[in-house]
Every structure is written in structure tokens, then in C-alpha cells.
Amino acid sequence: MTKQNRTRRRARTTAAGTALIALVGTAVAAAPALTAAAAPAVDASPAAMLAPYYTQLDLTGDDQVTEADLTLLSEHLGATAADADWASVSAADTDGDGTITVADLAATSHRMIYDDGPFELVEASTIDMQAAMNAGVTTSVAITQEYLDRIAAYDRTTVDTAPGGRPLNSIITTNADALAAAAAADTERAEHGMTSMLLGVPVAVKDNYDTVDMPTTGGCGCWDGNQTDTDATMVAGMRDAGAVILAKASLDEFAYGFVSEFSAGQPAGSSLLVASPYVTSQSAGGSSGGTGAAIAANLAGIGYGTDTGGSIRIPSTYNQLVGIRPTVGLTSRDGIIPLALSQDTGGPIARSVTDAAVALDAVTGVDAADPATSAQAGKVPTSYTSSLDPEALDGARIGYVTTMVGANATTKRLWDESVARLEAAGATVVPIEPTTAFNRVLSEGSGSTNEFKHDLAEYVEQHLDPDVRARSLQQILESGAYVTSRKGTYQSRDAVTDAQYEAWAGANGSHTTQLAAGKQLVTQMLDDQDLDALVYPSGTPYGTQSTNMRLSPNTGMPAVTVPMGQATAADGTVTGGGVNLEFLGRSFDEGTVIGLGYAFEQATGARTTPALYGPLG
């Protein structure tokens, strides 16, 4: 029987049956159509996650796998390469056998951001959170509450009973409006799906980012009352993406140094230090040390810091985290307390490259309030997550300057292992001998000395709460409410004249000129040897590696730092201390170094969870 005949007969049979029932005067109620399972709320458009893993099996043209793709694939079960419409499903033939099977259906389904299994907050990535929220296993409100609980339980408590154990002191303020923001995110998800990978994700921002719902202290007790009436542009971007601004993280006062000592919230003349959750007798690094400690200890989902001379990357390497120092001009500095605008840049600190890429997506954009951002026009991809390719190292050419490796036992061991991993992943690692000009790049000092007074004055004029009385370095010193060991630093910076500033940071200033030269030189290095990136250790266990941190700020070029391992007792350094590998790329080419860092992370898996800060009982 042909299908056409069958169809016609089926129609006749149905009609006959109906007639018979009517004839005897009794209607048998038809079974109501069965309801399919509620579609998970992951099909918001445009797609929120563009990592190839989540896009490459899309069949319906929306860059994501949804139930629509599964329905299409189910309809083509058994289809083969000989079929006329094979092209419509061939991308989902994951086993390459030329036939669509249930195995292909399962493999495609795996690419949905959805998980109805148990949800554990500790070490949860943005993907984990989104998947659990999409499945209704948890909510942003629940996640936010749990982070608040963890902050309350862990942050100012000495949980480390070892000699020298200290509290983390990573959070200055928690947001009283966080749960309301989380509830709004849950509503957004219910109504529109997963509109952003940050939707409902609680974030901690360094306390030099202005926030309308929490004071912005810069870590200084002198500015405890700085309640700005606007958000920093980057914070506005986070909120637009649906993030929950959970807390303001501690920092080295005014983002100056690497020990993260702050006076905010403390009696005048006293201060606190931020500890690393792995070895609490050690510093979390700085100046974004609070962000580093909080994210490493799972007190928030993602963090943001600022970096002038290492302040994102140092806390990242001290705390086994991923940090991105973006190209100067990729993220607006408007509404961030400055240190030196020639080199300041805000960026993410996260537990994974994926989270860092997600976080970066939310905070790029041209901002008239920060003219440096105009340079990014046309250079920013739709999403940096599209660079999350585990095979990115295959065929890559990675250079390193031999003098940047150093001799620290842990760093050298991990470096050698990392080079082997890079090569095993298909990269060519190219040693480069330093030149005098290159060494000059690394020896250029930070802009903070000569620029801080000038740039701080601009912030005071444009953003500082009018009720704050300490409105200059001189008045800060007069307040007595600052980290007292910084007195000499503040005095010397207050003494910098306009002429000194201009000679340094003016259009033809020495620093301006050197930074431009540095960018040109290092870009040429990359071009001459056809390199995708330079790599070098970000530090040593709880220490810095020579002047390595200066390469990115002294060229303006972006860097991504990724954990490569920890110190062992045999190293004779600081057992348990982490060391990161840093990838430096061309200006506004964050995508390349994110991809390389991601591939390295997948091959290495070096991050560990601090044992002292596990799930709450």
C-alpha cells in the first residue's frame, strides 16, 4: 500500500468511526492531546553563549542547541548522507557514521545549557549556574543567598587553625539590594529565558568601582561615605547583562600595592590585610586582592578588578584564578577611582577562562566619558566566548623571552611542564633573546607616581559624593583615616606638580612616548616571528617574577593569566602557592589570548579549590 492510499484510508476510517458513535447517540470522549514537557528556558535570542561547543551543533540557525534542534533531529532519525535534506542535520552526525541515530541526538542534547542534577555552589561556573537555573534546580535568589551566607560565615572568621592563620577580609560591603536584583533576574529568566550568561550571577567588584547601591571607598576609611549617584560604566554593563552586584571587594588602598591593605570601615589609623584562602598566612596579592580571595574562596560567582601594573594578574596567580587585563581602551574607566589612567584598565578575575570571557563581554564598549575606548570601535567580537576553542593551541606559535622565566624552583618546574603541554597541544614554542629595547619596555615604571594626584582630582570632581570631606591627597592625609604606612607615598604623590605630570603623561610625555614605543616594539616582535602570543610566568608562589607584570601595562596590550600549578614541598618555596602562565597578545585581540588560555586550561586543569572554604554545613 502506498503512503497516499494509507492516508486516504485513514481519513475514511476516522470519519466512519465518528459516524458510528453519533449513530448510537453516545460520544466517547477523545483523549486530550498530551502535553509535552515544559521547554527549558534556554532559547532566548540572540544566543548568550557562543563557545563552539554550544554553537557547532545548532541546526536551526540561532547559534544554540534548544529543544527545537532536538525536535528537528528526532524527525530525521535514520536520515543518511544520501538523503536530499541531509545538509539540514549533517552537523549533528557527531559520530560521522553518515546516519542520524539516537547517539547523535544525545550528543546534540549535551550541548544545551541545562542540568537537572544536584547543584553545588562551590566551584560552580557561570555555565553550571545557568544550567541549573535553566532547569529550575536553583534560582538566582538561592545562589545569591548562599554567597551571602558564605561571606557571613567565612570572610571575617579565622577558619585556618594553622600557625599564622588569618581571616580573608576580602569583602568591604555586601549589597542590601542583591536579593531584589536576583529576584528580578529570576523573573527575567522566567519571561525571556537565559538572556545573558551573567543573568542572575552574583559578582563582586573591587571597591574602586562606583556603585549606586553601595559606597565606593577605594579601600580608604577616608572615603567610607562615598555613596555615588551613578554606577561606573563597567558596573552598568554588568547590570545590563543581568548580573547581581553582590559585594564590594577589598583592595590595596587606592589600588596602590600588592598586599591589599585597606582602612575602609576601620577606625582611623588601623587597617586590615587580605589573606589568600590557600595559605592564609600569605597575602592574597594586590591590589585587587579582595576580589582574588573572594573568588578563590567561592564567596561570589565572578569578580572584577583593575590593573595598572599587575593588580588583576597578581591576585590571579596568588589565588589560582584566571585574570584578564584587557587592552587599555577596551573597558571604560569612567566611574572607577583611578591610579594612573595611562595604564589603568578594568577586567575580570574568575575561576575559569570561560567565566572570564563571559565577564569581559559585559563590560566592553565605547564610552564617551572615557575617550580611550574609542579605539575599540570595530575590534570587539560579538562575544569573547566564541574564542573558547579547546584546540586553539594546535598550530599556534607561542614566543617567550628567555629572561622572563626566572629561577624560582616552583616557577621553573611549572614553566617547563607548561611548555611541554603547549607543545603537546600542537603549539610551537619559540624562545626569543631579549634586546635592549625590549628590556627598556620592562624597566619603564608605573604611571601611578606621577599621575595619581592628577587623575584622582578628576574623579573627585566628577564622581565623589559631595558629602565626603577628604577631597584631595592633602585632605586625605589630614583625615588620618588611611593606611598609615602609606603616609610617605601620599605625601610624595601630592608633591607632584602639573609640569611633572605633563612631562610624564602629556601628549609628548616620556611615559606616553615609552608606552607607544613598547606597544610598537612588542607588536613587531609578534609579527616578525609570526607569533600568536608571548607567554611568561605571572609570578612565583606568593611573589612576583622580576618585572614580568610590566609587559602588558607598558605596551597597553592585553594579557590573560591562567593557573599552571602549585608549589610542592620538594620545591622548597611556599607549598601550595599557585603560579600562573600569562599570555600576551596584540592590542584588542583578546579573543586570541582567551582562546590560547582556554586551550591551556583544558589541557592543564591546574586550579584547585581551597580546602578551608568548602560547602557550608
Partner: protein, 266 residues
């Protein structure tokens, strides 16, 4: 942990006696993977009404007990596509996944598909799936699970082959001829109280007229051609009236029972 299908309203339970046949034929691991990673299952059972009339749906329930690491499955059902057809949207499966039915071979094969979603864990324990088939014509159809392919959380596959079968007899419903004889049935032909009109043996009540019914036990004397004779029509009309009355009663009772279970208002 047991994963039962989403509750569904049952179609008219014309024949309440369901035939369940279970098998445990060869377990084949198709992919070379560590044994502990492969999905496991050893048996499958299938349940349908033994008999219905044309136009009434057939609910097919498939149960796979004691499974482990099942991320997705493809239950292949063989039916007589001339007699039954999958009712769109009727498939159910374990909660929280994607369910679909792919019809192939001109309607003779149904692939009942289920997959978990995203990084959700694979299923363990007893699995249940169901589909509803619309009946197209009289006859008897085997409903056979010819194979079940399981996909584990790591993509490894395991297949149960030819494990279970049952059959459904679909009775034709003849058009009664209006006549004084048919309008006035003999004594005892109608129950005095419709509330007591449940057929004592539904299978007997509906097996008439099925030329392919091998059982024959409930068939009236003569073969299917007898249904074309004018002398049979009045009795057919009576039988149909009884059948519909009984069906309606069972359906009403089943719905009432569901309402009592679920608390639905109506």
C-alpha cells in the same frame, strides 16, 4: 530512583485486560567502552489493551526496569501501520527530558526517543515510556519492541534486541441498519440499569468481526463475510450499543478516579 512518565490522561479503557509480555533477549554492547561506563538494562516489557474498536486509541506502555546510566534511548516499535498510527504529541517519557516519536517504514516502525538535556545526569532505575496509537482499521496488530538502544552519559551505547511483544485486536464497528427488529431488541439484550452495564469480558465484546483474529474464541459463528449479511446487522447494532455504553461508563469511572487522585475540579 524511579523515573515515571508524566501523568497523562488515559484514553478510553475499552479493554481493561492488558497483555504484558516481557523479554530479556541478548544484551549487546556496541561500543567498546569500559563496562562501568556503558548504560545497562536487561529487560523491557510492553503493555497494551488486548482489544479495542476502530476509532478508539491504543495506549502502549513500555517499561524498562533496573537501568543504569541511561542518557538517551530509542525504543523501536514494530506495528501494522495499516491498522494503527502514532497520535502526534502523545509520547511520554521520564520527566525532564526531550521525548519524540519518529515514524518510519510507512508507519510500520515507531522510534520512541528520549534524551536527557544538557549536562543533566543519566537516569538510573525503572524507566517508563508510552505512546498512544490511533486505530485505523480492523485487524490484529502485533506491537513489538524490536530493539532498544541506550546511550550512556559518555556516549557509549548498549542495545537490547527483540525483547518484547504484545498484540491488539481492533474490531470493526458495523453500521446498524435502522429496522424495527434492530430498534426492539429481545429480552435481556439491554441491561435494565446502564450503571451495571460493564461488559463482563471486554475482550469478548469487541473481538467480533476481526477476520485476522487468531483466537477465535469470541468470534461469532461464521467468518467475517457474515458481517455483510442483513441478518447480522441488528445484533451488531445491539452489540455496538452495548459496547459504547460500557465504554462510556468505564471512561467516566476512570476520569472520576483520576479526579479523586489529582483533585482536579472537573
Amino acid at each position: 530512583m524511579q523515573h515515571l512518565p508524566r501523568p497523562r490522561p488515559r484514553a478510553a479503557s475499552i479493554a481493561s485486560a492488558a497483555l504484558v509480555v516481557a523479554g530479556s533477549i541478548g544484551l549487546a554492547v556496541l561500543t567498546a567502552v569500559p563496562a562501568q561506563a556503558a548504560p545497562t538494562a536487561t529487560t523491557v516489557s510492553i503493555s497494551t489493551p488486548t482489544s479495542v474498536t476502530v476509532g478508539s486509541p491504543v495506549d502502549v506502555d513500555v517499561t524498562i526496569p533496573d537501568t543504569a546510566d541511561v542518557y538517551a534511548y530509542d525504543v523501536t516499535l514494530a506495528v501494522d501501520g495499516d491498522l494503527v498510527a502514532y497520535r502526534d504529541g502523545s509520547v511520554t517519557g521520564p520527566d525532564g527530558g526531550h521525548d519524540a516519536v519518529r515514524t518510519a517504514d510507512g508507519g510500520d516502525t515507531l522510534h520512541v526517543l528520549h534524551t536527557r538535556l544538557g549536562s543533566s545526569p543519566a537516569l538510573d532505575g525503572d524507566l517508563a515510556a508510552s505512546v498512544t496509537l490511533d486505530t485505523l482499521a480492523a485487524g490484529t496488530t502485533e506491537v513489538t519492541v524490536t530493539s532498544v538502544e541506550f546511550v550512556g552519559s559518555d556516549g557509549s551505547t548498549t542495545t537490547l534486541t527483540d525483547p518484547a511483544s504484545t498484540s491488539v485486536t481492533i474490531a470493526a464497528v458495523a453500521t446498524p441498519t435502522p429496522s424495527p427488529t434492530a430498534a426492539v431488541p429481545g429480552p435481556g439484550a439491554y441491561p435494565s440499569d446502564p450503571a451495571t452495564a460493564e461488559p463482563s469480558d471486554p475482550a469478548t465484546a469487541i473481538a467480533v468481526g476481526d477476520a485476522d483474529d487468531a483466537s477465535g474464541a469470541s468470534r461469532p459463528a461464521g467468518d467475517a463475510l457474515a458481517w455483510t449479511g442483513a441478518d447480522v446487522l441488528p445484533w451488531a447494532a445491539v452489540a455496538l450499543a452495548l459496547l459504547v455504553a460500557g465504554t462510556t461508563l468505564i471512561t467516566v469511572r476512570a476520569r472520576r478516579a483520576r479526579r479523586e487522585q489529582t483533585g482536579d475540579a472537573a
